[in-house]
């Protein structure tokens, strides 16, 4: 008896937990969040619950003419598959995706509470490119040499000769970080501080030929571009214009576009803003170059020094130092077979796994063997936005690689994997319409079905109680406990419940009822054979057990095989069915064996057990005379 009470307590605690789980719409324990505004907070599929209806249109453009071209059927099918997989790995539930007409896609997602996230996971136009990044590339400027320079004059650039070119986003950071140096710009932009501007600002005025001026403008644009933090990038790699004097051996002057400072705390180079060091004099082919802005100890602070270095119209030499060069090697999203988040074996740190197809494997092997052992890195861009720039320790020829990073979290690697996958969209798409949509099976129709199902279940319980009497009551209680456990597990996992899941649940409830019926029928036989109540219960259970075990185990085997096969063959409906059925059947075994048996044994120990008639189905008049030991109690 003691043992039964203990089991009863376990059952009670489990039931209470299950009921509480279902009673609260949402559950939040730290990172663990479940539930929502659905019925009992269960996660429901699109057929049972409304969701969001997104319409996309393929936006395929001819790369040369920019004209839209219609996608092929294969491309649309591939697009559908990609989005299906992406939605699946984003944990958005099983979507409904269909091709609409020739170039549109219908995507319906169940009960999405965060449509923005859904849309970002589906992604739109995404072009993934893997490039070879080289740092500090020195290059000749073929079109610009001393021969193309018409005149060189040392000038004082104070006050500024031309208006400042504002670079959005740069001056702000500059103002915030310019702790080391005070520049004319910061002084000018804060007029309340009456700081004495530097009296002299030595510079050069260089006049080029028409053609050289055109090329020099390009160089200046590149320099300007190099100190702008590209979207997604984390570090600046500024370029420099290096100016020397022909025949002189002293180090050339290296001039960045803006004066630079080093943000000491993170060791990053930041532009300090102010006037650009190199500017064109409006309407001419002449450029001013500030000598004060040069780096590496080469800055020239006063006019006298400037005159000494560059006075007397020397023949100048020009070179361009590029901070970084991203070379396109033709490795794109098309070459990637798959990208997924994982854990590094051994350390358990989050990593991103990438696998290339055969063409990609070849390109990737070539790229990595060129990079390995050099300071160069891979730069991965999604829609021209830098996603990652990992280094390469060795050539990777197998077509599979992983990326790890010190700042990687599991969430980040998952998001990046999804983004890498998104780069594989075979056709760029754009969202054309977005609406909320009702359940496929119709909310009204479903509400009626739920009500009818409850009525049906009520009838079953009533039948059990009327026919099997006391054991029927036990079965009814056990079934209610069973139902709450199943639903709680569905909610906690969470299992996305679709019609297939409901079908599995009906089947497992049927099996739970069947298990109870099996036991009671056996009990009845034993009672008729004249055994005592307690031994009838025990023998009844033991006799019924092999049937319950074998039918449940074979169902579990079926579930496992269905699940595995459906996973390999990509049939998610079958998978959902198998998964929910497995949960249902496991719990139904627990319910029949533990819950029903414990409750019955406890019942047998109470005074009710004296009335044997309560334990035999209605109309069972052929019960043998009560055993003397029962009457004697």
């Amino acid at each position: 008896m003691r043992r039964h009470i203990r089991t009863l307590v376990v059952i009670a605690v489990l039931t209470a937990t299950a009921v509480l789980t279902l009673a609260f719409q949402t559950i939040k324990l730290g990172n663990f969040e479940r539930g929502g505004d659905t019925i009992l907070g269960l996660t429901l599929g699109l057929d049972l619950q409304g969701g969001i209806d997104l319409r996309y249109k393929a936006a395929l453009k001819d790369p040369n003419t920019g004209e839209s071209i219609p996608p092929t059927k294969d491309q649309m099918t591939a697009l559908l598959k990609t989005i299906e997989r992406r939605v699946d790995s984003g944990g958005l539930g099983r979507p409904n995706i269909q091709i609409l007409g020739e170039d549109r896609l219908l995507v319906q997602l169940p009960g999405v509470s965060d449509p923005e996230r859904a849309k970002s996971i589906i992604g739109e136009t995404a072009r993934l490119e893997w490039k070879h990044r080289t740092f500090n590339v020195d290059r000749d400027l073929a079109g610009i040499s001393g021969d193309n320079v018409l005149s060189v004059d040392v000038v004082d650039l104070q006050p500024p000769t031309t208006s400042t070119i504002e670079l959005p986003g740069v001056t702000d950071t500059a103002a915030a970080t310019s702790t080391a140096t005070s520049t004319p710009a910061t002084a000018a932009s804060t007029p309340s501080v009456l700081e004495e501007p530097p009296t002299e600002l030595p510079g050069m005025l260089i006049e080029f030929t028409e053609e050289a001026a055109v090329e020099f403008v390009e160089v200046v644009e590149r320099l300007a571009e190099s100190i702008r933090l590209a979207p997604g990038a984390t570090a600046l790699y500024p370029g420099y214009l290096s100016i020397g004097v022909e025949g002189e051996t002293s180090t050339p002057l290296r001039v960045p576009y803006f004066e630079l400072g080093i943000f000491a705390e993170i060791g990053q180079i930041v532009p300090l803003g102010g006037d650009p060091n190199i500017q064109r004099v409006e309407g001419t082919n002449s450029f001013t170059v500030s000598l004060a802005g040069a780096v590496g100890g080469g800055a020239i602070a006063d006019m006298a020094a400037a005159e000494e270095r560059f006075g007397g119209s020397p023949v100048l030499t020009f070179r361009e130092e590029l901070g970084k060069v991203d070379e396109d090697v033709g490795l794109t999203g098309d070459d990637l077979a798959r990208a997924y988040a994982g854990q590094r074996s051994g350390t358990g740190l989050p990593i991103i796994n990438v696998e290339f197809n055969s063409e990609g494997t070849r390109k990737f092997a070539e790229l990595t063997s060129r990079i390995a052992g050099t300071p160069d890195v891979l730069a991965i861009f999604l829609d021209d936005e830098e996603l990652l720039a990992p280094g390469v320790s060795q050539a990777i020829r197998g077509g599979a690689a992983f990326i790890e990073g010190r700042d990687f979290t599991f969430e980040r690697v998952r998001d990046i994997s999804l983004l890498l996958e998104s780069g594989r969209l075979p056709v760029p798409i754009e969202l054309i319409r977005e609406r909320d949509v009702d359940a496929i099976l119709g909310a009204d129709s479903l509400a009626r079905s739920v009500a009818a199902g409850l009525v049906g279940l009520g009838l079953v319980l009533l039948f059990m109680v009327v026919y099997y009497r006391a054991p029927g009551v036990v079965a009814a209680v056990a079934l209610v406990i069973y139902a709450s456990l199943v639903l709680a597990v569905f909610k906690l996992f969470p299992v996305t419940l679709e019609l297939s899941g409901v079908a599995a649940a009906i089947l497992s409830i049927g099996m739970a009822v069947d298990a109870n019926i099996l036991i009671f029928e056996r009990m009845k036989e034993e009672l008729r054979a004249g055994r005592t109540l307690l031994s009838s219960i025990n023998i009844g259970f033991n006799r019924a057990w092999p049937a319950i075990r074998d039918s449940n185990v074979s169902t579990l085997i079926t579930c496992a095989i269905l699940f595995w096969f459906a996973d390999t063959l990509d049939a998610s409906i079958v998978q959902g069915f198998a998964f929910t059925l497995a949960i249902g059947v496991s719990l139904s075994m627990f319910s029949a064996i533990t819950v029903s048996r414990t409750l019955l044994r406890i019942l047998a120990a109470t005074r009710l057990s004296r009335r044997l008639g309560l334990f035999v189905p209605a109309g069972a008049g052929d019960l043998p005379k009560q055993q003397p030991q029962l009457g004697a109690v």
Binding site: Q98, D436, G442, L518, A566
Partner: protein, 311 residues
Amino acid sequence: MDFVSKRNWFFLLSFLIILPGVVFLVPPGGLKAGIDFTGGSSIMLQFSMPVDSEDLRLELTDFGETDAVVQSMGDDTFFVRTKELPQERKNALVDLLKARLSPDGVEVLSFDLVSPLIARETVFAAFWAVLAAAVGIYLYLWWAFRTVPSPFRYGTAAIIALLHDTMVVVGIFAILGQLLDTEVNTMFLIALLTVIGYSVNDTIVIFDRIRENILLYPNRDLATVANLSISESLGRSLNTSLTLLFTLLALLLFGGQTIRVFLWVLLIGVIVGTYSSIGIATQVLIVWEYGDLKKLWRKIRRTPATAPEAS
């Protein structure tokens, strides 16, 4: 009760049920594939006044689009998927809806062809998965019945019963498809999986009883044991299937329209699954034990051979 001696009647009954199904199934398109598998047309409609989606569904059924999927996008806008609608038929449908539901007007926001929701491969995938599961069940039953003679027969008999149930359900839907244009959809597929699960479960319960009785009465022959086992478990079989039928009937009578196909498959499946455990699975064991097929074969071979002698 003697169930075993009536085995040929059981087989005849099953044959008579399955045969027409097969006849209807064999011609191409025997089983009418619904829009989940074929794709079709999609229309987005905006009515000038709020419309009940159940009313819209009824109108579509009236129009002959029994398989249509209706999703509301607010009170007056609906997304409807139907079989492929030619332009004229679409116009006729819009006119009908305008007349019946929204006299002030209906606007067609979009009208497109849609691709299938469930790829053909998924159906094949489901088929292979079930086949693999059947092998799993067969092996498990072989192992579970290792204590009785010829344990492999139990798995085989259970699989035959399972096939029988599947063929009955599929056959009935092939007939319904030809006669009433009933279409099979995703729901049908799911319900069929459920029926298969139930069929095996029910068969095992009877077999378990046979296993128990064989060990209990080692000297009785299989026919006697099988009869005893069926009689003993009849109460349980009836009660279990009745409880399931209660629920399904309640759902069919009072539940929503949208899951009818699903419920009908389950209802037929429960009846057939319960019947086949007794009428097919157990009888297959008997046929095997007493070499019925061999006798039948000999009879067939002998009849033409002896006929000329007699004349």
